[in-house]
Assembly symmetry: C3
Homo-oligomer: 184 residues x 3
């Protein structure tokens, strides 16, 4: 299911059932898991690592140093960066950026390089992320600030006394300051 | 006037004199009117509907569920979304988004799905639209807020006592709260 | 070093050692200097002028009327616009936008047309630039505001009594109000 206009260099590793849309370019040295969906005009650089069941929308570039765990969602036109204080004269440094399992990044959001996005966090559309995002946190704005918390299923969570039950799927969570955990 | 690198699937409907630039992809089931101009790396999904005389700049994706009426302007890199609270595990829902006649959407703006953009409204560059936009309203910011009103010709309108005359083209408007109408 | 999927029209001028990545489109009448690097899905319109040693990241469109001097850095997905108050019915005007030597424009930033970005200024990721930016200024936010000053090397500058010495490269600067100069 790789579109004939997509370019996949020899030496790129792509898992089974992964779909790649038109005009995308996967460099050798890129690693992509199984059952992923990469949209139109996606770029995956050598050194980038993408897990399984990851959905990457149109016009997203995954640079060297970016690691996307399983079930990550990258909205259309969201942007990873790969340099801090870039100048044309400087070499790019490929600082590591990690996005943990199940995190969702909204359309047009920008993630400054070197940040860690926690498990199942949710970055709102158009947000500019300049700090690490805790697990399950919802962040919005420029620069992005925490405005709430979200269940793995996508429903907002209301904490009372450090506890929350999802009204959609009944998963239970505990919270101490900015540390939220799923109770098993 | 369809560039040879653009992909137009059989079953896509495209009106006369519509121009499509390089590396764009039009799926079968998409409907595009006449005299439109679709820039480089545009994507039009099955189920999307585009009217006549619509201008879509580079790097814009029109998803299933998006309806653009006649004379709509989509600035470069503006983004429609097609999911609320997206998670990689969920299916996308293709909620309907409607953009009425003559509306202009600025560069890099993000329109959350399910919203209605009124006639000849104007969304500023980089705005994130999370609420419906009234006819002729100008909205800017993250999230987008109403900051003024604009004539069909592109000139700002100054209301006094519920009335305004465009200083550029002399069109007359009336306004009650957020409801603006062109007087004929 | 022009990728075979990139389109370079006859009559486009491209300097030595300039690299162009996949799915980019350079129109005739465009002028690009030497030792530049233009990423994936870049567009350079007729009438656009790009100096030497310029780095243009993925998904950037350089329209007619845009002038980029030497050593300019355009981050991924940053957007130039080419119309003020655009309406689908109006013709685009191609107002001139000038980016001076060594300026850096962050990922996803939007530059409204007609603005001048000064030498070695720094536009933060996601900023929307609606005013001219002075030499060496750092601007962030929507709309973009000055929040500091930056050395040619990319290090932040701290002024005391109108003077600053870069702690990274020892370059010296003087400042009167918003006018910063490199001392030679």
């Amino acid at each position: 299911m790789i579109h004939p206009t997509a370019i996949v260099e020899k030496g790129a590793k792509i898992g089974q059932e992964t779909k790649i849309w038109p005009f995308s370019y996967i460099m050798k040295g890129a690693k992509i898991g199984k059952n992923c969906n990469l949209g139109q005009n996606v770029f995956v650089e050598k050194g980038a690592k993408i897990g399984n069941y990851v959905r990457v929308h149109n016009n997203v570039s995954i640079y060297d140093g970016v690691v996307l765990d399983d079930y990550v969602f990258c909205g259309p036109g969201m942007i990873f960066t790969n340099e801090l204080n870039p100048r044309a004269k400087k070499e790019s440094e490929h600082i590591k950026t990690v996005v943990k399992e199940g995190a969702s990044i909204g359309a047009g959001a920008v993630i400054l390089c070197g940040k860690k996005l926690g498990k199942y966090c949710f970055v709102g559309a158009g947000a500019v992320v300049a700090e690490d995002v805790p697990d399950y946190a919802v962040v919005v704005g420029v620069p992005a600030k925490i405005v709430g918390w979200m269940c793995e299923c996508g429903k907002g969570l209301q904490f009372e006394g450090g506890r929350a039950i999802c009204r959609e799927c009944s998963k239970k969570y505990s919270k101490k300051e900015k540390a939220v955990r799923l109770k098993k």
